[in-house]
């Protein structure tokens, strides 16, 4: 990825809304612990909101790279820090709108599947419908 800050934010929002939204819709009924849609979508929104802050940090880190690129691998391993933070907040019951602590495996499965699909899509297929996307730092509009 060769993102600009604007492109990062747009891509993040687009991916989580489209793929996050669809995957959560499909997975919620079959997740362990039987979570309701309200819970899973609030978690998705939490990932999105925190993600915007994370993108600012990643953009800062990127400035230390001569190439101003964001290696493919980084796009996958940032799931660790982001996922850990979201779970920490859930575990401490700091996420508004969710009562109690949701099932860990439900969170892990939903989060991992979304992340992996988004990562794959970002690193290839996205370029098929949006031919300008990769040349404009990941901007969609």
């Amino acid at each position: 990825m060769l993102p600009t800050l604007n492109g990062r934010l747009q891509t993040r929002i687009f991916m989580l809304v489209v793929f996050g939204g669809l995957i959560t819709l499909a997975l919620t009924p079959i997740l362990p612990g039987d979570p309701d849609y309200k819970t899973t979508y609030i978690i998705l929104a939490t990932v999105l909101v925190l993600g915007i802050v994370w993108e600012l940090i990643y953009h800062g880190i990127q400035q230390f790279r001569w190439e101003k690129d964001w290696p493919t691998m980084f796009g996958l391993i940032t799931a660790l820090n982001e996922g850990a933070l979201v779970w920490l907040l859930l575990d401490l019951e700091l996420v508004p709108g969710i009562d109690g602590v949701p099932d860990f495996w439900a969170f892990l499965i939903d989060f991992s599947v979304i992340w992996f699909v988004v990562w794959i899509w970002t690193n290839g297929p996205m370029r098929v419908p949006f031919i300008r996307w990769r040349f404009f730092g990941g901007r969609i509009i």
């Binding site: 190439e67 101003k68 691998m73 370029r127 419908p129 949006f130 031919i131 040349f135 404009f136």
Partner: protein
Amino acid sequence: MIEPSAASVVPTTDPSTYLPAQAITGDLTDQMLETDFWTDDLVAAAGIPIVDVPFVTVGSGIGSFVTVDYLRIAGVPTSQIRVLGTLDKPWQTYEYLTRVSQVPRPERLRSDSASRPDNIWGFPSYGFAEGVRKFNLKVLWQLFSEPIFADYYTPKAGNVFEQLERESNRIGYDEMLVKGLVRIVRRRYGGGYFTILTPPEGASATKRVAFRSQYVHVAVGYPGLKFLPELQRYRTENNDYRHIVNAYEAHEHVYERLMQVPSTVVVRGGGIVASRVLQRLMDDRLLHGAQTNIVHLFRTYINGPNDGYGNEGDPRPGGGKPRMFMRRRGGDGWAYQGFNYPKSVWGGQLKAQVRKLEGEERAELYKRMGGTNTPWRKLWQKQMNQGRREGWYTPVVGAVEDMQPSGERIVNHVRTAQGTVPIEADFVIDCTGLEADIAEHRLLKDLLEHGGVTRNPVGRLNVDRSFELIGTASGTGAMYASGSSTLGGYFPGVDTFLGLQVAAQEIQADLRKRGFGKRIGPVRSTLQWWKWLAGSAP
């Protein structure tokens, strides 16, 4: 005004239709050469047949190919496009240059995996396709972990050419190709352009053929190669073209000789070509028993963090060190960089940044991210380390002051920090890769003198963000340029595969606004991608 959907028209060249007093040769007249805007009558009066076609691209190399590929995918039929040039295959010049500079078909280029001139989407990338087709986990791991735990994946030259051939057949490239030399493009009185083609002897009734088009695209590649002045002087004064060679000319005889006789070779330059030539010399030594001693001459020796101005201590505007956020890795003489630009010029931050810069500021950023560089590759590091340890690879820092023949050998007088030292060698391979001025190219010279073309802050063709040549508009017609002759514009990576595609995308979008071709939106793009995958015509 040319009707874009009109079929090609070849007016009669029958001499009886013209004034009898005038010699009809179908050649350019003095009056034409002196006139910046040509009327239809002026061309017809010279007896030059006129072919009408809405779009011509001049060059017939990869620049022309990539642009035409985009237009075909945007729904432009082959009848509305003509490719004018001397090459049979778009990759011909490129293959020649890579082969002599030691990247034959089985070797890998210095090019990104997703930088595919045969596929405007860059998906699947070369690496992904190679990894999946052969189920090569090593390649897939490399793609995943580059550049942190692995060298950048780069495609094999042969694979690139094969895929280009496939795409060329798919889009009907040969139907659009008209062979010949183009030295003149002039604006047409009333709009559009005349492109004068000199077909091969016997291919046409007249010496020239004029293509009357609304749009012209110029992609003529490198204007030419420049030798270092002292090398050129030595070659001409001593009539010796055997012992002093440029890496971009055929010089296989050097390697053949080195296999037979233990010799010393001076390699000059610190870029990708020097790396390639060193690999060839070292492969021959390590794998095939050559006894070559290599003296590697650096003009600028990079010893640590650097930018386009050189090492931390080297002078730069405003003084100081490379900026905190613009520090490139370096060592052992080399500046290390994966590709020939920092990667983000092809789509990220640097691309966005340069797009907004003008004049001096733009030239300054070009300078800062420029400078000779080469990728850090495990194999090369291993070979050089072994060479240094065993004493057959010696880097020297300095500038050559003079060169003298000494029997069959050459003495290079090199000015170093320790004074001038003589270095005797059997061969000198120049890998400095100096490029000639754009005015060395006859077509570009003519455009500068008669076509309204101006120079950009680094002295090359001045193109706008849409790659339209600034100052060349002619009525509703437009002239575009892409490739190395446009270096220094609002987009830096022009002389690369991906750069040609970035340019083609902008050109296609601009042409679409003018009513030529369709928009490549998400639906068309996706449908066209499936056609690409299936190998069916666009």
